[in-house]
Amino acid sequence: MRLEPIANPALTRRLGLPALALGATVLVASLLSALAGADPFAVLGLILKGAAGSKFAALETLNRATPLIFTGLAVAVAFRAKLWNIGAEAQLYAGAIVTVFLATGLLAGTGLWGMALVAALAMLAGALVLLGPVMLKTRFGVDEVVTTLLFNFIMLLIVSWLLEGPMKDPAGMGWPKSEPLERAMRLPRLAEGLRLHWGFALALIAAVLVWFLQARTTLGYEMRAVGHNPRAAAFAGIPVNPVLVRTALLSGGLAALAGYSEVAGLKGHLSLDLSPGFGYTGIIVAMLALLHPLGVVFTAIFVAGIFVGSDSMSRAAGVPTYIADMLLASALLLMVLAIGLTRYRVVWK
């Protein structure tokens, strides 16, 4: 087997292969359902129904998509500059900690204006969490993949300590969770009676801003140049390490907003199960979107739909809910393969 580069792949190839990858994912879903002894078509139908079959289901999906848009953007921004930020989980919790700390403490009772400030400071916290690994990369050449991964574990332990110690809710009946945010400090719903909070709107705004930044600003140009070819970028006078640091600040800040929006918009408090791996899922969201900021919005909703739909399908059809994680991991690998094959043709000889 040999790969032959395709200089200028046709549009059919560039769109057809990713579509094929998604098709193959559906095939994997059918196979797994059959393995679990359920009717594949029924399972797919139930996932679809559970994700978008009713107004309640659709809103649930959008709620679940909100943190994924933020972490997806965080990963997309970083990966575009070839900065391997696998630590969105840690940055998310950093944002959540700061949100609870300020909204129940210093800034309690300041209302929405206070919450805007809280958002800014939460972003700062997430940015600082990623700054560490990036400084280690630029100063010492330490691979950021491993350090950001290890920070996830450290951060979870910090959260655990905070929730059993300094930030523990005295009225929490012994559960490790923080004091809840008061009503005035929570993000309002988008419309009266609509179970969707302003975090979703913030996520959409963030996606548009990130798109503008990447496509239309000098910083975005620098990030892309550094990501594609750091050597040529340095030769052309682009300050590679400072650009990486700026990328890290943006990426960490975006991931922190996921924690902010989950605490202030949805949960109202901090607990150890605030994120069921939103940081890791953000990688899938970003890769499926081919790292395009606006694409992230759609893939985040798609991924959230699979999770929400699988939860409800699992109750009805008895297929383990972990089918969702398997599908998304398969989708990720298939999509990476599809992208690879748009640039190369397989020749058997």
């Binding site: 200089a7 000098t218 140009y221 594609h228 050597r231 970028a233 340095a234 030769f235 052309a236 006078g237």
Partner: protein, 521 residues
Amino acid sequence: MSADYGAQETVLRLTGITRRFGATLANDAIDLTLKRGEVLALLGENGAGKTTLMNILFGQYAADSGTVEVFGKPLPPGNPAAALSAGLGMVHQHFTLADNLTVLDNILLGTVPLWRAGFGRAAARARVLTLSRDFGLAVDPEARVGDLSVGERQRVEILKALYRDVRILILDEPTAVLTPQESDALFATLRSAVAGGLSVIFISHKLHEVMAASSRVLVLRHGRVVGQVATAGTTREALAAMMVGAELRKATVTPGTPGPVLLQLRGVHTSKDAAGKDDRIGGLRGIDLALRGGQITGIAGVSGNGQAALSDLLSGLLAPQAGTLDLGGTAQGQWSPRRALTAGIGRIPEDRHKTGTIAEFTLTENVILERYAEAPFARAGVMDWAAARRVTDDLIRRFDVRCEGPDGVIRLLSGGNMQKLILGRVLDTAPRIILANQPVRGLDIGAISYVHGQLVAARDAGAAVLLISEDLDEIMELSDIIHVMSEGRLSPPFARGSMTAAQIGLWMAGQGFDEGATDAA
């Protein structure tokens, strides 16, 4: 035995080899025969199809059609292992050695079946030492390859082939990395090997070497065989005519008019090149250099002797550790690519694919690479892509870049067109100093004369041009003033035509010019 090769048995026969890469026909129905004990020179310009042909012979690629026979037996296509076991050996232009392994490990790699328990290292080591003595290829078997000089590495490559008892040895541009004296030693090694019954294919585009080392010459042009002659019955001029076709060039560059000194290096030391690849050699060791406007200053020398460091220094990637860098009379303190650009240095880097351009970017994005943050391309941090596209359109027209348009991806351009675009990007800012590092490597003749013409025109407009090249002919043709570079030092300058190639060769080997330099200091 040597003269009567015609009667010898045929050891290698290629018939009708054809190979296409996309739209280009790299090899077009090539026939080739090699007899025992002869040195066949494969002559041709860059891109004539020599390397492709050898890669097919070695099974790196499969041919689209045609057959290979070794010692009368057909060779299965696309199978490197079969080629090796048939007795073929090759020394590549870019060495295929693992730097972090020892010489012995590199030689032993692949000689013992993978699943055998051990090597018999002691016996292997003894054999390597014997071979290196017999063929005059001195090298320490336990040395790490990364610590060896380029010439020594080539010896390791040849030892690798000899260790495997090759009967047909192919050398791909073996002298490109050697000084003239080292080349002579290589030819001596080859003569003794051929006398022992080895057959050699010698790939080159240097006519004098072909005349000196080969017994027969096969000339390739545009992927086809255009001539086949006995070396004894031909002349350099006849070969050159065959190699380049009708359009034989004889560039006549009129001398420049020297202007003021625009850039001056005094006693500059640097660590190594900015990429940090070669840390043993490669740094500058106290060089003095003055670049005058209206002059082309040429740096001759075998690559790997500090050219990368000098190029990185002028590009701003590398700052002097000691010594001073003066621009127009002011010494530079802080030094970076951005400062180099601001100071009016235009840079044509050695590697246009990896350093000069960003492959995945469009032509427009590449054109503004060095000034994306300036008006009119950006205002208050927001890009104006329409302005960038207008400038790119203009460059494409003025520099005759053949492409689909400013929005195409640059990696789709041919080498020549890519270089024209880089040249346009550099000249568009009317730089006072131009660094041209190997500006025509890998280009076809049309593109070469275009690039050279533009450099001369820039010089005539008053720019100081620094031309770094390992092609001595190019240096001699274009430069008004020439330095020779060796082991991180520069020879005193001399005017074009004032030295013979033999004298320059000695300097390239690092002999002679040092004393003069010390006296001057």
